[in-house]
């Protein structure tokens, strides 16, 4: 059975305020790093899975991302997938 490596990136939707990101951006200024105009914090979920083919692996990961890893009310997600 082919093995796949995947990474799901979960980010707050642009319309949702990210106070933790704002606080981190303020800390960047205190560190002396200038010019950071936007900082948003998300999650990266790394997975390994076995599936018969890439299409099936993608189907499972899309289901997982949409129903568990991200909450579509407040978050968007994207998927990176490769066979290992």
């Amino acid at each position: 059975m082919p093995r796949f490596q995947a990474r799901v990136l979960v980010n707050l939707r642009p319309s949702v305020l990210d106070p933790a990101g704002e606080a981190t951006r303020a800390a960047a200024v205190r560190l002396g790093v200038d010019g950071v105009s936007r900082l948003r914090i998300g999650k990266a979920v790394e997975l390994e899975l076995e599936a018969p083919d890439e299409q099936e692996a993608r189907r499972r990961l899309e289901l997982l991302s949409d129903r568990l890893l991200a909450n579509p009310v407040i978050e968007n997600w994207s998927l990176e997938l490769q066979q290992s």
């Binding site: 949702v16 305020l17 106070p19 933790a20 890893l69 909450n71 009310v73 407040i74």
Partner: protein, 217 residues
Amino acid sequence: MSIGVVIFPGSNCDRDVRWATEGCLDLPTRFLWHEDQDLSGLDAVVLPGGFSYGDYLRCGAIARFAPVLQALVDFAAKGGRVLGICNGFQVLTELGLLPGALTRNQNLHFICEDAALAVASSRTPWLRHQSVGSEIVLPIAHGEGRYQCSEDTLKQLQDDDAIALRYCNNPNGSIADIAGITNASGNVLGLMPHPERACDPKIGGVDGQGFLRALIA
């Protein structure tokens, strides 16, 4: 006639709820373990506050898959009363019984204080004895209580008269000052404030009693 109080791993207000319903109000109450699926004999179910399953991933995201909640979806569809308090409200949104989501407080603080609340609707049993606009005080204690939803959802909530409670002084950045909402039919209520902590006059008022009485009224 009985009330069920769900215990998830990480719940921490379950005994407070039972103290309020059984100890203060003399309403028969039993605990429901998160793996239970038998809700027979219950008139109402309370999802208490706490940190279900450690609140890993997102608040309420993992609790959503608890066996007891699969049974609760049917229970709610048949008109059974469901009250989600704080983490319980977060679970109800993740489960899809209520719209929207609860996100990190705007000021990033865990807020633990008494909150003045305005009754926004008296349509449902939970607030039937209150007049719209009247003010009550309930404790809040949360880090992720900022209610968020799309503009379409907000309009739907308004059209359905489903906004139950609003903060008088919005502490967390919730959209439209929302502190609690019901579903369209009114049998499901989710709110961030803790009515069970306001049921004993000796320890902080009795403004929460009406919500718990409504479980069996």
